[in-house]
Symmetry: C2
Subunit: 186 residues, 2 copies
DNA sequence: TGATTGTTGAGACCTGGTCTCATCTAGAGG
DNA sequence: CCTCTAGATGAGACCAGGTCTCAACAATCA
């Protein structure tokens, strides 16, 4: 499977209470994953897991690298880029918010699958999950003879704050030349 | 350069031939769009529209540039990259199959909105449209106070052919030719 | 015609990401 | 504890898509 897609449930994704143990749990899971492939759990990989799980939300790779540096771990760009797909495949991470500009990840362990709603104005990211989507996606894939292995699904728009901000500042833009269809919520 | 990266043979050339009218229609639409913004309809832009509409399916930008060259139009990379977003905004093109590696566009004019189903094995791209998705998406955005302005939605999996091939391995790699690099790397 | 302002094209530049390769190390055996 | 070997690492070269710059150019309008 392409490392880094939104894995469809039924894969790993063990739903467990997010707690201190999550690092331990992830390490265990990763160790198992590596063992199956005759790969090694090295210090660098351990450090990356820790740094990764410490960041609760989505994070761009670049920030993760900075994190590692800050922790005094050498951690080269190459190593991080090599490790993240492994973690994704192991079900510990999942790719998130792929805007076509930068990749971004987030912890997957112990979480339900979800997709993202991104604000074009301020960059805010809201997560949502909606069982119905999964069902429809599977249905569509099947209809075309595909076996579904993942998806990218991201909604983009303006959050409430940004919509408000559009109207408020800088004079009275009465929304005259806003070619945005899709009704202006609330 | 990675030749053929987003080539989806057997998938294109379905739509009707260029159809003078669609180019004319697009030009008219674009002209109106530009006029509203005090921008100009130049020879380069005209050429880009024509080249774009001549390609019925999805196409990577790189190929479009090659097209222009082939047509004897100078067309620099910068101009193309500057024009495509304009065309998108004008509703003539739409972004398609954003894998996070390369952008890819397709004509939007006169077409229903649709999303894509991509085969990880051979790179085949199937289009699908499903009203229900749009409705759910709108619903979700609204629920979070967002005004929906667009989305990325792409399903990935294995097409029937590739699944069959999986079961009967040993055969020659039918598509080694078409890495389509959705996999982990080069 | 000339002034104004948007547009173009070539190429330098930027940047996220990958690859190379010498060196290191986890882990299995001895 | 030592040795051996394949996997892992890190620094940095490298790659490619995409953006920016800037001088030259052209559509418009006075």
């Amino acid at each position: 499977m392409r490392p880094g897609l939104n894995n469809h449930p039924g894969d790993q994704a063990i739903a467990a209470p997010p707690g201190e143990s999550s690092v331990a749990q992830a390490l265990k899971q990763f160790e198992r994953f590596l063992a199956e492939r005759a790969l090694r759990l090295t210090a660098a990989r351990r450090a990356i897991i820790e740094a990764v799980l410490e960041r609760a939300g989505h994070f761009p790779i670049e920030e993760l690298i900075a994190d590692l540096r800050r922790r005094g771990i050498r951690g080269s760009k190459a190593t991080v880029y090599r490790t993240l797909p492994l973690l994704t495949e192991a079900g510990i991470l999942q790719e998130a918010v792929v805007t076509g500009e930068t990749r971004s990840y987030e912890a997957a362990i112990g979480r339900e699958h979800h997709d993202h709603l991104v604000c074009l104005g301020c960059g805010k990211v809201v997560e949502f999950e909606f069982e119905a989507f999964e069902i429809l996606q599977r249905e569509i894939a099947a209809r075309h003879g595909f076996r579904l292995e993942g998806h990218h699904h991201q909604l983009v728009g303006r959050c409430a704050d940004c919509q408000r901000r559009e109207v408020a500042p800088a004079g009275p833009p009465v929304n005259a030349e806003h070619p945005n269809r899709v009704g202006s919520g609330r």
